[in-house]
């Protein structure tokens, strides 16, 4: 992760503390400098902020130095971090045989990094309408999975075939247009043509028809990856379909690989992956950062696609085992969760 410094700040060499002898060579950063952050650590509390950055080159910088600035994370940072870029190269050919369906807000299929990736598209909200993404959420998720890197974003499963189902017009609030029926229509449309389905959305209520549908496709070997949901002031509910046993439920980690505060805490979570400040594609050839379990999900869906490229017969159960192999049990307050290990993933 790269962070742009916003004000003058000293490099602390020994400890994450402000001490007269903690910078003997008098090294400092000026506004605009970019530092390579290896991890965030808790250090001395200064001005109410005890969060520090540990730099890849060594030493510590108080995080307050970038309070008013944008943290700039290098695109594709997480691919490299977990070796996904290597797996992508390894299964590049086979990925073309893998179909990934994204059930979201649609897609800007003319984006520089998404052009010529769409195989099938369907609007489940208003069936006679296009799948154009007016929200950005779907386009963002698509970039994470399938970005072509023609300009900037490289997707985890770059080269795979993409099916786009618009199951909601917007991604937030009470007027998204999303219904269980819409989700079912979408599954009916693309289920049989999918190896992996990525759903960065969900509903609060259990629905048997939806469950049966998910179950049926899962039994056919389709790996369905869904976001567990984000915490909001009025809603702390884990979402369906992530709650179905047949789905891989994904939570979000922060940049320190700790559980994100916005992740709904539920034991059904199979895996947590970085989901904060993820840079990806946005409509109209733009790029931007989004955070949430929605962002962590396409990473895992992409990983599922890589596994499918490696072994077409694999299914959600196999994938779950793979994830467990690459997860570490962590605890935040009383909640235990599986987080992706801070290591390169090997299939």
């Amino acid at each position: 992760m790269k962070v742009r410094i916003n004000t003058y700040v000293n490099l602390r060499t020994e400890l994450a503390e402000i001490h007269p002898y903690n910078n003997p060579r008098d090294i400092y950063f000026s506004p605009g400098d970019i530092i390579n952050v290896a991890e965030t650590v808790i250090g001395e509390n200064y001005k109410g902020n005890d969060l520090w950055y540990r730099l890849e080159e060594g030493g510590y910088v108080w995080s307050g130095a970038d309070n008013d600035s944008k943290i700039t994370v290098e695109p594709n940072f997480w691919l490299k971090r977990f070796g996904l870029d290597l797996l992508q190269q390894q299964f590049q050919q086979k990925l073309s045989n893998v179909s990934i369906s994204i059930l979201d807000t649609g897609i800007d299929e003319m984006h520089l990094d998404l052009k010529d990736t769409v195989n099938l598209k369907f609007n489940a909200v208003s069936q006679n309408q296009p799948t154009k993404d007016a929200d950005g959420h779907g386009t963002h998720c698509s970039g994470i999975i399938i970005g072509t890197a023609k300009n900037k974003i490289s997707g985890v499963a770059k080269g795979a075939k993409l099916n786009v189902c618009k199951i909601m017009n917007t991604s937030s609030g009470s007027f998204t247009g999303m219904t269980v029926k819409g989700m079912i229509r979408a599954l009916d449309k693309v289920g049989d043509q999918s190896d992996v389905i990525s759903i960065s959305a969900g509903v609060n209520q259990y629905d048997k028809e939806l469950h049966d549908k998910i179950k049926a496709y899962a039994e056919k070997g389709v790996i369905i990856v869904a976001a567990i949901g984000n915490v909001s002031p009025e809603d702390r509910t884990a979402k369906y379909p992530a709650m179905f046993d047949e789905c891989i439920a994904v939570g979000s980690l922060n940049n320190s690989l700790e559980l994100s505060d916005l992740t709904v805490r539920n034991s059904k979570i199979d895996i947590c992956f970085p989901g904060e400040l993820i840079t990806s594609t946005l409509p109209n050839d733009s790029y931007g950062q989004k955070s949430g379990t929605s962002m962590a999900t396409p990473f895992i869906a992409g990983l599922a696609a890589l596994m499918k490229a490696n072994n077409a017969e694999s299914n959600y159960a196999v994938f779950r085992e793979l994830l467990k192999d690459h997860a570490v049990l962590k605890q935040k307050e009383q909640f235990q969760y599986y987080a992706i290990k801070n290591e390169k993933i090997i299939l």
Partner: protein
């Protein structure tokens, strides 16, 4: 008045509401997806949807009507004892039906006529004094007060036409003066303390705006809801409920206001949407639910809540309109019915406005009836608006809180129809409504001011009704009857029961019985010596009443000193002979050729009389009386005289007071 429709046209063009549920519902309907939920397709639609909902303070929270349209993903009236009263003229009429030349009848008639005259003079003197002593009367009836100042009571017959003109003028202007009563200095403290009074004053003036053409009915409803006084903290439950009813009426009215197309030039400007539009609204269930959802949000935003205090245990319960709506969320027919009724009433107003505008444009003379129809229809819709809440929950007793408004409306209606007595009654009801609200508020610090108001109301009513009755007729006989009724109203028998001390000239008519009948020397039974007979004495009664205080209904106890006894005459009057006329036909007839002398009906005696509880005009008496010389009148008209003698007897009779001589009461409310 004639500028009314020019003003109306201007008013109707200026319909600018932040929220407009009808039109907003139509807009929002466009954003409903295949799955019958809101699904704005792009950021522009989302911005429109969110901005509309923001006006209703709705962000996807629970709303029984809108929630179903939100996403699942990411997402709630004997013989009258013949006239039991055979009133005096009927008795005297019996006596009067008897030859007027008879001394008894003559004396009685003379006495009665003089008494009436004296009482009438007394009445006008009291009327004049009341007007001078009570500023409320001066404010309410200024012209009459001036006329009374110049009244020489004993010359009232000459002054009556002038008084009548004054009554007429004052009653016609009563809506202008009624609110001023509450602004009298003596009520200053009440005015400061109780927003109820200010609301009353404003409501009266507002309805007056309708009459003057300053406001349309729709504007009346809106203005009513916007009164600053509604914001007064710490008011009574009644006031809060009144506020909620008014604000709810405004919500429904405003939600159905017609918005003129800014591009099209509409010839006829309407205040509310049309019947056709309301039918289209309710026809599409989705649009109708969205509309109701927006109304629901407005009810939530304005905190439309009703309160009631329960006795056991003592606590205040509240119910919000949002809750009532929520209970009826699946009963769209109910909402459809109420709204359709509202629009039907509104359409009548709009049509009448159009008609009046047309007549004005065509220079066709407008008649009072034209204005009356318009005012009447406007008040109908205001009435209906304020009653909407009660239509949703019958247990919600809101009628009493909106009484003032309804009475204001009725007042205007009655004045237009020149129904002065009803108008006067409405005026008094309004003032009484104010006093009830203040009492309910439970504030004890302003008892004196409140008492001034409650004490003056009955008298204002008494004199006001007299004025109204006089103003309502120009027939001399009717005016005479009104005067008779004013000085001694029918039902006066109850006066003695309601007063501490009463002295009156009166009569009883009924039956007597006694246990020591004595046969006359002639051997003939007579009216005086029969064991049972007709009882018709006239005398002076001194009474004490016991119908005092709430719940007390114990009647009266009187000492009745008898002067005359007309029992024989009345007994004869009750008999009818069969007479064959020249044509051979037989008919019932009374012969009236008897003669009696005054001395023959003098019959001194004394009774203790109990006037029955309640206002039943019956009395039970026991006492002794020295019989009159006249003991019987035979069917031929022959009079029978006996030597007078004493007897003890008891009677059950109808109480017929002629007039009161003294009337004292601790309770000033008695009249």
């Amino acid at each position: 008045m004639r500028i009314i429709f020019t003003l109306l046209a201007l008013l109707l063009f200026n319909v600018t509401f932040a929220q407009h549920p009808y039109y907003d519902a139509l807009k929002l309907r466009k954003y409903i997806s295949d799955d019958k939920i809101f699904a704005p397709a792009d950021s522009l639609e989302m911005d429109t949807l969110v901005s509309i909902f923001k006006l209703y303070n709705y962000s996807g929270t629970i709303n029984p009507f809108l929630t179903p349209f939100t996403s699942e993903g990411k997402g709630y009236s004997a013989d009258d004892v013949k006239k039991a009263t055979l009133n005096l003229s009927s008795i005297i009429g019996s006596v009067a039906g008897v030859d007027v030349t008879t001394i008894a009848n003559g004396v009685a008639m003379l006495m009665i006529d003089r008494a009436k005259q004296e009482l009438t003079v007394t009445f006008f003197n009291r009327f004049k004094k009341f007007a001078e002593d009570n500023p409320e009367f001066k404010v309410l009836f200024p012209k009459t007060t001036d006329n009374l100042k110049n009244l020489l009571a004993y010359k009232y017959p000459e002054m009556l036409p002038a008084l009548r003109t004054g009554f007429y003028a004052d009653l016609n202007k009563i809506t202008y003066n009624l609110d001023d009563v509450l602004e009298l200095p003596r009520y200053n403290e009440l005015l400061k303390k109780f927003p109820e009074i200010k609301i009353t004053i404003r409501s009266i003036r507002l309805v007056h705006e309708l009459e003057s053409g300053e406001s349309h009915a729709a504007e009346i409803i809106t203005k009513f809801a916007d009164f600053e006084e509604w914001k007064t903290p710490g008011t009574s439950n009644g006031f809060k409920n009144f506020k909620s009813s008014v604000k709810l009426a405004a919500i429904f009215s405003n939600s159905l206001r017609h918005m003129p197309d800014p591009v099209k030039k509409e010839k006829d400007v309407k205040a509310w949407i049309s019947i056709k539009q309301i039918r289209e609204l309710v026809k599409d269930t989705i649009t109708f639910r969205i509309y109701l959802g927006l109304v629901y949000q407005l009810a939530v935003m304005d905190d439309i809540t009703w309160y009631k205090t329960t006795d056991k245990p003592l606590k205040t319960e509240s119910i919000s309109f949002a809750t009532l709506m929520g209970k009826q969320k699946d009963n769209l027919f109910l909402f459809e019915n109420k709204l359709t009724k509202f629009i039907e009433l509104s359409e009548t107003v709009d049509k009448l406005t159009d008609t009046l505008n047309y007549k004005k444009d065509e220079k066709i003379a407008l008649k009072t009836e034209d204005y009356y129809s318009y005012i009447n229809a406007s008040l109908d819709i205001v009435d209906y608006g304020f009653s909407i809440a009660g239509l949703f929950d019958q247990d919600l007793d809101i009628a009493q809180y909106t009484l003032i408004v309804r009475k204001s409306n009725d007042l205007y209606r009655h004045l237009y129809k020149k129904e002065f007595t009803q108008a006067l009654s409405n005026s008094m009801d309004i003032l009484e409504g104010v006093s009830i609200m203040i009492k309910e508020a439970g504030d004890t610090t302003h008892k004196k001011s409140l008492k001034l108001l409650t004490d003056v109301l009955p008298k204002l009513t008494k004199y006001g009704l007299f004025m109204a009755n006089i103003a309502s007729t120009d027939k001399p006989e009717e005016i005479r009857d009104i005067l008779d009724n004013a000085i001694l109203p029918v039902g006066s028998s109850s006066i003695k029961k309601n007063t501490d001390f009463n002295v009156s000239v009166q009569s009883y008519l009924g039956a007597y019985g006694f246990s020591n009948p004595v046969k006359s020397s002639t051997g003939n039974g007579n009216a005086w010596t029969d064991k049972f007979g007709v009882f018709a004495p006239i005398g002076i009664s001194v009474s004490r009443g016991f119908n005092k205080g709430p719940g007390k209904n114990c009647g009266s106890l009187s000492l009745f000193a008898v002067l005359f006894d007309l029992g024989a005459i009345v007994d004869y009057q009750l008999k009818k002979d069969s007479v064959t006329n020249s044509s051979g036909a037989t008919q019932e007839e009374i012969t009236k050729n008897y003669k009696i002398k005054l001395g023959q009906i003098i019959s001194p005696g004394a009774y203790v009389v109990y006037g029955f509880f309640g206002n039943i005009p019956l009395s039970l008496g026991f006492g002794a009386q020295y019989g009159p010389g006249l003991s019987k009148i035979e069917s031929s008209g022959k009079t029978v005289f006996n030597n007078p003698q004493w007897r003890w007897n008891a009677f059950l009779a109808v109480d017929i007071p002629f007039f009161n001589l003294v009337n004292k009461s601790k309770n000033k409310k008695s009249i």
